[in-house]
Symmetry: C2
Subunit: 398 residues, 2 copies
Amino acid sequence: MYNLLPNLSVIEASSFVASPTAGLYLAQMGAEVIRVDQIGGGPDFRRWPVTENNDSLYWENLNRAKKSVALDLGRPEGRELLQALVRATGQFVTNFPVGGFLSHELLAEGRPDLITVRVMGWADGSPALDYTVNNAVGYPMLTGNGPEPVNHVLPAWDLLTGAYAAFALMAAIQRRSATGEGGEVRLPLSDIAIGTVANLGGIAEVMYGGANRPRLGNAVYGLFGRDFVTRDGERTMIVVVTPRQWANLIIALDVGDAVAAIEAARGVSFAKDDGLRFDHRDALYPLFEKAIAARDHADLAGAFDAGGIVHSPYRTMLDAANDPALVADNPIFGAVENPSGFTYPAAGAFATIPQADRLPPAPAPRNGAHSEEVLAERLSLPSGEIARLIDAGIVGVT
Amino acid sequence: MYNLLPNLSVIEASSFVASPTAGLYLAQMGAEVIRVDQIGGGPDFRRWPVTENNDSLYWENLNRAKKSVALDLGRPEGRELLQALVRATGQFVTNFPVGGFLSHELLAEGRPDLITVRVMGWADGSPALDYTVNNAVGYPMLTGNGPEPVNHVLPAWDLLTGAYAAFALMAAIQRRSATGEGGEVRLPLSDIAIGTVANLGGIAEVMYGGANRPRLGNAVYGLFGRDFVTRDGERTMIVVVTPRQWANLIIALDVGDAVAAIEAARGVSFAKDDGLRFDHRDALYPLFEKAIAARDHADLAGAFDAGGIVHSPYRTMLDAANDPALVADNPIFGAVENPSGFTYPAAGAFATIPQADRLPPAPAPRNGAHSEEVLAERLSLPSGEIARLIDAGIVGVT
C-alpha cells in the first residue's frame, strides 16, 4: 500500500477478476475505492477457494483496501442509489453490461464529465470469460506437448485487463483534467487477447508464414530456453537471453568443445544469435540434457547464479507460499485479519517505491460495512433516511 | 490509438516484453514515448519471429508509435546522452539494472522530481524472466493433466507487469503533481507473480488447507467449466458463472431430469452454487459429455448464444488471425507499413472510447529515426554538435 492517489475516489461495481483487480490496484496506491455490492454479496462472493464457513479466500484477496456499500440492486431504489453514487463520485469501474441501468449514457446524464471504465467479454457485448477468449485466440493449441489443447490456469487475460483498466482510468482522468471531457473506456477481454497476440508479433507471424508455430512443450520459442532435469531429479527452467549468459552457461557446464563442434559441423556461431540456438536445438538439447543430468541441482545453481544465468526449479504453490524470500520476508506482504477470520500473508501493492512510505496491506470490507458512511458523505442522506432505507431492505449494513 | 496523453513524454530504455509494453500502452494513448536504443538495436531487436531478412515481427509490434534515438551505450558519451535525455524529460521507463549508469539515484541528480519505473527480475536485483518466475510460484505444476509441469506460452507475467507499470507511472505522476515529489517505482516480476498468487487467494488457499490444489486439466476450479467435444468433433470450452446460465445450459442440453436425479441422490441443489457443481463433477461431467457429444457444434452454439452461455471452440492462432470479427473488421486493428516491409493488421490501443477520436495504429520506428530531432529538441544540441556525434559513432541515425 502506498498513498500516491489520496485525492481519487472510484465507485466499483464488479465481480470476478478483471474489474476487481483494477479497483484493487487503485486502492493499493491510495485511492478510495468504494465497491457497491448486492446485499449479501454479488455472483463471486462465495467463489472458491472457500473456508469451512464458506467465506471466499478469493474474494477477500481481490477486494482488499476497498469500502463496501450494500444495496438491493434488484429494486429500482437500490439501482438509483448506485447511479447517484456514480454521478456524485465521477469515476466508475465496472463489468456490468454495456446497456442497462449502468450504461454510460444514462450515468452521464447530469454528470457529463463522468469517466466509466467497463470490462466486457466480447466487443459486441456478448458474454466471454478469460477461458473462452483464451482458446478463441489460439494459446491452448500452442501450450503443452499436444495434441490436446491445454488451458492456462492463471487467468492471464483477466489480470492484464485489470491492470490495463487501472492505467486507462488514469489516462482518461489526465485527459479530463486537460479538456474537461469524460467518457467511457470499453475494454473487451477479446480485444485485449487478440490485441496482445498482435503486439507479440503473433498476427504478423501466422500471416507471414501462413502457418501456426509448432508446439514446443516447455521450450521457449526463438531462443535457448527449456526445462532440464538435474542428477538429483530437480526439474529446472533455464533461459539464455544475452551473449554473456550463453558464454557463462557453456563454461558452467563445461560443454565448450562440444558446442564448438556443433558450430563447426553446421557452419554457424551461437555466440550472439538467439535464433540459431533455437534452430539447432536438435543438436544442443541432447548435449545440455546430458551435461545437466550429470550434476546436482545445488552445484549447478551456484554456478548459474555466479554466471548471471536465468534459472529456477519448478515448485508447487505450497512451496512458493513457504519460501521466506517470496512471502514471509517480502516487504510487499503483511499479515492482516480478514473477513474469513483466517490470518495469513496478504499482498499489498506490487510496487516498491524507496522514496515513499509503504503502508501495510489492508483487509477486504465486510458486505455493507461502509453503507451508512458513504451514503451520508457522498449523497448527503440524513441519518433518518438511511435508517428508512435499511429498514426497507434497500441498503444493507454489516 | 487515442490522444489522451498529449502532454506526457517518456524516455524508454528497454527490451523484451514487460517494459516495452508499458511504453506501448502509453504511446497508444497519445504519450510521446522515446526509445533510446543501442545503435543497431538492443538485445531483443532480432527476437523471433523474424522475416527472411531477419527483421523482428516481435520487436516491430511491441514498439509501435514510439520514437527511436540510437546511441552507443557502450561509450561514456553515449551513456551521458541517455542520462541527459532522462533528466530533460522527467519520466523514465526501463528494465536496465537497478544499479549502474541508469540508477535512479544517479539520474535524479539535477532532476529530483524524476519518476523512474523499473521492471526487474527478482526483487533483489538478480535476473529472472517470465518463464522462471512462473515456475517459482507454482503455476506449471497446476497446468495440464500432469504429472509433468506445463509452462504457459503466453508471457503473462511480462504482460501484467507492463500494464501495471503504465498504471504505476500515471499514479506516480499524480503524486508528483500534488506534492512535487519524484521517485523510483520498482516492479520485480517475482513480486508481481507471487503478489498475484496472493490476490487470487492462492497463498490463503494453500496455507488454509496445507496442500496444493489438484491438477484439473482443462477444467476450471470451483465452478462448472470445462472443454467438451461435440458430435462433429469440435472441442469447445463451456463455463457457467450465473444461475441463469446454468438453468439455460440444462434447457439447451435437455438434461433437466438427469440433473435433478443427481441432486436428489446427493441431497444438493446446483441452481445457485458454483462450488457444488464443481464438487459433484464426477456425476455432472459424464452427463454433459454425453449430451454434448450427441449434438453438432453449430446447433449447440446457437442454443448457447440464445441462453447467454459462455462458450468458445478451440482455435489455432491462424484461425484467430483470419476471423474477421477479431481482426479484419475489428476497429482496434489497422494495416500499416512496418519496418520489416511486411504489411498486416496491427493493433492500436485495446480500449474503445466512443466519445474520443480513434487514430490508426502507427508503425515502430527505424533504429535512430528520431535521433537528430530529439537531441535538438530535448537537449538543445546544435546541428554541428549532432553531426560530430554522428561522425564519432556516438549517435546513430537511420
